[in-house]
């Protein structure tokens, strides 16, 4: 079976799983099939979904960014702190996006320039950016943002959709074009499959990686601001631990943790699977650890099944020849 074939069958499996979950939820809860619930289902994890898009690109590029949740927290805290210091909200938002870009440049420098492994660099970022966020806000919570800002986060903007949901769809299309329809996208796959070979064939690997990490941090900062708008107030521990949920969605979407494989359709389907599963369990009053077990189990299966499938097909071929 070709790589393309495996991918297609992976998405088919996700789709089947999604249909099964939706069918199960519809039967299980009378509240599931309503526009309001579908909006909630997206809205409750929309920031993670947005960050999952760039995380997919980073992982396809053969790297990982563990610092995204801390960058979200950092951006939200920078925004709240500057706003609280008397700066107008639009400028505070720009400052937050700027902080995100700086964090991304910092990651990119150590990974693309110095050549350190992204696992180590972004782990340091996870701790460091969170530290800055906590130093800025200490134990305070900062709220009282302008009404228009909270409205962006909490009210429907286009039909029943909130701004964050609309941004997610726009970014989804944008990154799908970047990844699957642009020269840069092809380079991401090439670098992710074999960075060494790419380098020898003249690809500026460092530049590709730098672009990935700056893009990842910028989108994370944007997501952090949207999160602040949704909650209406900011604390130092905002978005703590989100990186694992984001990476879970990407891996479940069929993106290979070793890089070079995967696509955004799979990630989109995986997001839908997780969101519907969470929502269904929530409406069935299943919360906390049980939810984590189910989603963790799903991830383990998602890693196991392709490998077992590979092994099975290899054996099958071995018998044929």
């Amino acid at each position: 079976m070709s790589a393309v074939g495996t991918l297609k069958s992976w998405e088919a499996m996700m789709l089947a799983l999604l249909v099964a979950i939706i069918a199960f939820n519809s039967v299980g809860s009378p509240y599931f099939l309503s526009v309001g619930n579908f909006v909630n289902l997206f809205q409750l994890s929309i920031e993670k979904s947005i960050v999952a898009l760039t995380m997919a690109l980073v992982i396809i590029g053969g790297e990982i960014d563990l610092s995204v949740a801390s960058v979200m927290g950092l951006a939200a805290c920078v925004m709240a702190w500057t706003f609280h210091a008397g700066v107008p909200m639009p400028a505070a938002i720009l400052a937050a996006l700027g902080a995100g870009i700086l964090a991304g440049l910092n990651n990119a420098f150590w990974i693309a320039r110095v050549g350190l492994p992204s696992l180590a660099v972004t782990l340091a970022g996870l701790i460091g950016y969170r530290g800055v966020a906590r130093i800025l806000l200490e134990d305070r919570a900062i709220g009282g943002f302008p009404d228009w800002f909270n409205t962006i986060g909490q009210q429907a903007l286009i039909g029943p959709l909130t701004a964050a949901i609309a941004i997610f769809f726009v970014l989804f299309i944008f990154f799908a074009i970047v990844l699957h329809g642009s020269a840069f996208g092809r380079l991401v796959y090439v670098v992710g499959s074999n960075a060494q070979a790419a380098r020898y064939s003249g690809v500026r690997v460092g530049l590709v990686k730098a672009a990935l990490f700056v893009g990842s941090a910028f989108v994370a900062a944007l997501a952090g601001i949207l999160y602040a708008a949704r909650l209406g107030s900011v604390r130092g521990d905002m978005a703590e631990g989100f990186e694992l949920d984001v990476i879970t969605a990407v891996l479940l979407g069929g993106v290979s943790i070793f890089g070079g494989k995967g696509n955004l359709v799979g990630v989109g389907l995986a997001l839908l699977v997780i969101l519907n599963l969470r929502n269904g369990m929530g409406l069935a009053d299943i919360t906390g650890n049980t939810q984590n077990y189910v989603i963790g189990g799903l991830l383990i299966l998602s890693v196991l099944i392709p490998n077992m499938w590979q092994e099975l097909t290899n054996k099958w071929r071995g018998r044929e020849t």
Binding site: Y31, L44, D139, Q154, D285, T287
Partner: protein, 347 residues
Amino acid sequence: MTRFLMGAAALAVLAALPQCALAQDAMATRGKAVSMVLLPKFLGILPFDQAHKGAEEAAKELQNPTPLQFLGPTPQNSVAGQIEIVTNATTQGVKAIMISNNSGDQIVPAAKAAQAKGIKVVTWDSPIPSSEGEDVFVAQVDFSEIGKVMADMTLDLAGPGGGKFAILSASPDAANQNAWIAAMKTALKDPKYAKLDLVDTVYGNDESEKSYTQAQALVDKYPDLKVIMSPTSVGIVAGAKALQDEKLCDKVKISGLGLPSEMLAYTKNGCAPEFALWSFIDLGYLAYYTTYLLAADALKAEEGAKFKAGRMGEYTITKDPTRAKGLRILMGPFTIYNKDNVEAAAK
């Protein structure tokens, strides 16, 4: 059959009557189906399980046919999890949500959305700081009162002659403990406590081992120390064990805030003859009563409203003096535990 129908109609008319006259008596509204969610900060620690137990007790007394949902996030996912649970409960159209808020004001949009759908939002244990999106807060104790309770227990144990005592606290920057110690120092100015001499304040960082060695160091440093006052449930247990291991319980006593189940042995062997805490069972019980009456329209969340909460007696809704806005029901006072009541409470 006709008689039955007429009876049913009469009952329906009775049920539809304005309930203001009955507002003070919870028993009058027993048996209504009110779907309620009890939402702790997170699942898996004893105090919240005790609150759940108390709420179930109230649910049984009020004969609510709809089972209570006890839903909570994991500690790592507390903020996002609480928001998700409130949002899903809103989708389900429950009648009331009882929150021990761990999300600061970040819970406000979700709580407001719940209220917009007619859901009663009651906080207990920990309120919404801005009080937006909240009907009323069921508070355990008045934190300023704790200073007096700590001073009283110290005097009790030191005896009428007074003497030296020291404080074994949590960490130097623990907001709760610092506020309580400050309240105790204020209380000590009363001439009643003139013979008490606070010689030292040490910190065990809420770690058992550190608290244990700090207690040992205290008794070494002050041979005539009479009482160690530990306003933290970790410090008081570790300190009691230190006194017991050093065989000093005849000379030095420990007191403070502790959980009866953890203090049982030390109260019975005389190392910690008395200590205080609020009962989380009672807190859950009172939160449930309050919320049920609000959701059944038998109580209005407004200043001065009175109601009777089963075995706990009568309560009044007042302005919350600890927040700029917001309403409060003060459970209080502390329960003082000693050899007479600790065993029952430890169960």
